[in-house]
Symmetry: C2
Subunit: 273 residues, 2 copies
């Protein structure tokens, strides 16, 4: 890198590691967490579309064929797994925030043992967190690596015993859980927050919206003030790992799973694309 | 890491690099960019204080003695330099956002050639950017590694020929430049934005506030709507690399450097602590 005189890591002059990876420096990257079933990446097309949208938004130039070949190879070697794909803009070619456009994107595929049923409590509790999410339309929807808000939020959850924490944006709109999207039954209607200003457009959310429409149970995507959590009659959480899961207790209030959301979850379950 | 089956990097099963560094995954880290003069880190105490505040806020447990010994060693080897200290929470010990508290912080010190006068145009131009900064009091002030907003903002600047872009928060308050804090002369008064909701509490900003008070030219720290940029009579930018620099043209409007801000800059110049 231009003008670089030396690098030390943990006090030693060393040349290993990726000290100037821009994702490490600035969270300048994207990721996807995907389920692998029978050697196939579940909802691969939706994950690809979101990653491509993220690359376009951040102007990360990366070879999609190479990325997905790498992910598929991992899935083939571990047919039942959880797969995390990380894409960094790559090592900095110059100091400072400005991306030069000549960085070489770095693709990391980590394969984990599949989620076990034991990870999900039979009785799922969620709480509303005080911490808010910053609003930025330029970053909303994509799954980028600026995730300190989620890291802090998960910390806020520790000790509560809750499985998930629900969050509003700085202007008081319900956004999502710390690691999931939310579907509510509200005034007899199915709704989910719009994500124009903040939040991650989840792949399972997209799949659930699609299946809901197919099944004639459309979900309205709309701005929802955080207060709707006080009067919603049902709540489910979605993400690629969990599917679409009903919450049984929200802020110490009992919730009965929504028959419609359960039907959508059941319709989703066998699908892989 | 728990449940990890394999990692591939750019399509190869490899064990090098830091694929699970949490700063790379989530921007879960902090940094300081510091000037080294005559082998000493300029304003080291202020940098230390900000890094410590960041560690407290993010609950990153790191040995300050070890960190600063490492930075000082770099400064001694390169007595005139720009030094970047990066502190990652370290490699993930479990999948997901939750920090376990047992991560081993990673310290990276990169030493660069000192800034040259040629990097700073004689006539400094700034423009107001359309992009807004998300507001999050939990992250405001500290210099964390979630910097995609700045990366995108610098991209928005490209082609404009401007040296710096000024940014407002999502609620329309002036915050800072993409890489600097701002000082304004407004209605005859010196002012700088409050940074409770967003922005980085710059070390040069802190030093300038201190010197201004010492010199009997106090700067008011306050909420400022973005529109003050249309009527401020002078504007200076501050950061550790630049010092306190006057802007000559703001959004195609001529600005005359403020005598008081120039005096503060002159008072700052010889100081190292």
């Amino acid at each position: 890198m231009n003008g670089l005189l030396e690098v030390s890591i943990d006090g030693e002059l060393r040349a290993d590691g990726w000290p100037h990876d821009r994702s490490l420096q600035y969270g300048d990257g994207l990721f996807e967490t995907m389920l692998v079933r029978q050697g196939r990446i579940r909802f691969e097309a939706l994950h690809r579309a979101r990653l491509a949208a993220g690359c376009a938004r951040l102007a990360i130039h990366a070879d999609a064929l190479r990325i997905w070949a790498s992910a598929r190879a991992g899935a083939q070697r571990h047919p039942e797994a959880l797969l995390k794909l990380q894409l960094s803009r790559g090592d900095a070619v110059a100091r400072g925030y400005t991306a030069q456009g000549t960085e070489q994107a770095r693709v990391i595929v980590s394969v984990f043992a599949p989620p076990s049923a034991a990870e999900i409590p039979a009785r799922l509790r969620a709480v509303t967190l005080q911490a808010r999410l910053g609003e930025n339309p330029d970053l909303a929807g994509i799954k980028h690596c600026n995730r300190l808000e989620q890291v802090l939020a998960r910390r806020g959850l520790q000790g509560s015993g809750a499985f998930e924490g629900l969050m509003a944006s700085s202007s008081g709109l319900l956004v999502s859980g710390t690691m999931s999207n939310v579907f509510l039954e509200l005034d007899g209607e199915l709704v989910t927050p719009a994500l124009q200003r903040c939040g991650v457009a989840g792949v399972m959310r997209a799949a659930a919206l699609r299946e809901a429409a197919r099944a004639g149970m459309p979900v309205r995507v709309m701005d929802l003030p955080l207060q709707v959590l006080e009067r919603c009659t049902a709540l489910s959480l979605s993400n690629a790992r969990l599917g679409l899961l009903p919450v049984h207790e929200l802020d110490q209030r009992e919730l009965v799973p929504s028959a419609r959301l359960l039907a959508i979850a059941a319709a989703l379950e066998p699908l892989d694309e």
